[in-house]
């Protein structure tokens, strides 16, 4: 009898989980199509189909293939990788407030971008014009990796990495990066200040297939690798000692997971700027729906991250067309109150 009850319960749970994933995939497809359809110029599904097939009218085809499709792919890639990295870091650090910013990714990328924007003319003058558009993303990527490597390096002591130390080192290094950014912002001219301000608010615009292709490939490979950490993250919930007792090489896993997150998020930040809140809020919402088991939580967070970021992008593009608000404003403005509502409803959290 007990076995039968268990099986029935599992059946119900399995159906519920399957339903959640079907709903998330359906929502993702809907917003992805919406991203192609909606905008200052509204396109029909047949126009989009023709454009994709390569035999549409020139203007809709250009809008779809050169503007909206790369933007949609980038949004999916960034949303999914930010969310999965947030879920991994929250699990790894056993800290619900963890997000990619904690290990210095955003701080490092921002510092490198500020250096290039404000001081770039001093040492990048000889760079050919064809390479110039890629200087900022490359700098951001390198900055993200460098600062993350510094934080992970300093967080280690006697070959072991303490989570408390990691957080404190992250705070210190981010503060130093922040001071550097503040100084360079202070000495920047009006044009540089405007560039800095818009980059720091994040945007999926101004992207072509080349940059999107590289960035999204890095993000997707990293995210798939992170899915393999699901069981280890479950064991981390027992605490590091018990996780070690269950067979995990604790320091190796912490270091490699943080490094992969840095690569994934660095690839996104480098091309779209820092986009807040998705990495923090998506895993929380996913956890409330589907539970804490990471083999479900990681993919659910990723799908939800993609949906949320594309929703935010749809809103910023369609509120006052053809003007476009920074996407970071939308993710915080929409995500913040919604997150607060969920937290207040979930009394046990």
């Amino acid at each position: 009898m007990a076995l039968l009850e268990t099986t029935q319960f599992r059946g119900r749970r399995f159906s519920f989980n399957a339903l959640v994933f079907v709903a998330l995939v359906a929502a993702l497809i809907t917003v992805a199509v919406g991203e192609l359809v909606l905008g200052p110029v509204r396109l029909s599904l047949s126009q989009i189909y023709d454009a994709m097939a390569g035999n549409g009218e020139p203007m809709p085809a250009a809008i779809v293939t050169q503007i909206r499709a790369p933007r949609m792919v980038l949004g999916l890639g960034i949303g999914m990788s930010l969310a999965i990295c947030g879920a991994v870091l929250q699990g790894l650090l056993r800290n619900p407030l963890a997000d990619p910013g904690l290990i210095g990714i955003s701080g490092g990328a921002s510092a490198a971008v500020v250096v290039v924007i404000v001081l770039g003319d001093l040492f990048l003058g000889e760079i050919p014009a064809s390479v110039r558009p890629y200087v900022l993303p490359i700098a951001a990527f390198c900055g993200a990796l460098l600062v993350t490597a510094l934080i992970l390096g300093f967080a280690q002591k006697n070959g072991e990495m303490s989570i408390g130390r990691l957080i404190l080192v992250g705070v210190a290094i981010n503060a130093i990066a922040g001071a550097g950014i503040g100084f360079l912002t202070y000495i920047s001219n009006d044009t540089q200040l405007r560039d800095l301000t818009f980059w720091s608010m994040g945007s999926l615009a101004k992207t072509g297939w080349f940059g999107v292709g590289i960035s999204v490939t890095i993000m997707m490979i990293s995210s798939v690798v992170l899915l393999r950490y699901a069981r280890a993250l479950d064991l981390f919930q027992l605490g590091e000692r018990a996780a070690f007792h269950s067979g995990l090489a604790i320091t190796k896993i912490k270091f490699s997971a943080c490094a992969i997150c840095a690569v994934a998020v660095g690839a996104g930040v480098s091309i779209a700027g820092p986009i807040g809140f998705i990495g923090l809020v998506s895993p929380h919402i996913a956890r409330m729906i589907i539970g804490s088991a990471h083999h479900l939580l990681l993919p659910a967070s990723a799908l939800l991250g993609g949906v949320l970021l594309l929703c935010a992008d749809l809103i910023v593009r369609n509120v006052i067309p053809p003007q476009e608000l920074p996407i970071g404003l939308a993710t915080s403005l929409i995500g913040g109150p919604f997150f607060l509502f969920l937290l207040l409803r979930e009394k046990r959290l």
Binding site: T6, H245, S292, R348
Partner: protein, 262 residues
């Protein structure tokens, strides 16, 4: 068998272990006893592989502890911490499955989890969130998790060891006995069980062998009757302790409280 010889360990300039020795054979329940700060839990943590900077030799059979990876070690021993914790909102069933190796077929895993939950009286709580259980139930749920690890590894790789660090510390007398019966039953199933215990009467009732630790050293080791002697215990605990034989044949250990008698 696990053999630990001349185990020494210092935290900074403070020596915690100073040449402790211990053997844990398969199929036996070995209790490590001693006063507060004697180094009991540290002995367990060295054998569990947690301490990197100890001196001395630890062997799991023919294999030196230092040469075992965390994964290899987890196949040979499971450890229940004194205060196990859980950050996620797993239900009991999910918690128990956590430490079971992936190599065990799903059908066998289901049967094993069901049996262990039944053995610990947790079947009705299988789908309840762990953070909604009482302290005693939570402790039993974590015990179920390490038992599942031990028995799964026994099925896959041969007999292993179960380390319990003061498993009865936060439990009432009923649950203390229940936990010790489970440890005893694991030993009867061929598992080598190492239990750190404060309660000498529980040790006398359930252990095969006693290792008495004091000041970081093994001061006595052997059967219950050999170690639990009034003079030795009185010296170690620095207070008069009596050892009597109960009508059941079991030893009963109690301190003299002459000051309170009058």
């Amino acid at each position: 068998m696990i053999t630990g010889r001349n185990l020494s360990l210092a935290f900074g300039n403070t020596p915690i272990l100073r040449g402790a020795n211990i053997d844990v054979p398969f199929g036996k329940l070995v209790a490590v006893c001693g006063p507060n700060g004697a180094g009991k839990s540290t002995v367990l943590s060295v054998l569990a592989g947690e301490q990197k900077h100890y001196q001395g030799d630890v062997y799991f059979g023919d294999d030196a502890l230092a040469n075992l990876t965390p994964r290899q070690l987890s196949r040979r021993r499971a450890v229940l911490e004194q205060s196990p914790s859980l950050s996620a909102n797993f239900c009991v069933d999910e918690l128990v499955r956590l430490s079971i190796p992936m190599e065990l077929p799903p059908r066998d895993t289901d049967v094993m989890v069901r049996n262990i939950l039944g053995q610990l009286g947790l079947s009705e709580f299988a789908k309840r969130r762990v953070d909604n259980l009482s302290g005693g139930q939570r402790h039993r749920a974590h015990l179920a998790r390490v038992l599942a690890q031990v028995y799964a590894n026994q099925t896959l790789f041969g007999a292993g060891y179960l380390f319990l660090d003061e498993p009865t510390a936060s439990l009432d007398i009923l649950h203390q006995i229940a936990v010790m019966k489970i440890a005893r039953s694991a030993a009867q199933n061929g598992v080598g069980v190492l239990v750190v215990l404060h309660d000498l009467n529980l040790a006398a009732a359930f252990a095969d062998d006693i290792v008495m630790v004091n000041g970081g050293k093994t001061v006595a080791a052997g059967s219950v009757g050999q170690v639990f002697q009034s003079k030795l215990l009185s010296q170690i605990y620095e207070t008069p302790i009596n050892v009597d034989k109960h009508s059941s044949g079991r030893l009963v250990i109690y301190p003299e409280l002459q000051d309170l008698a009058g």
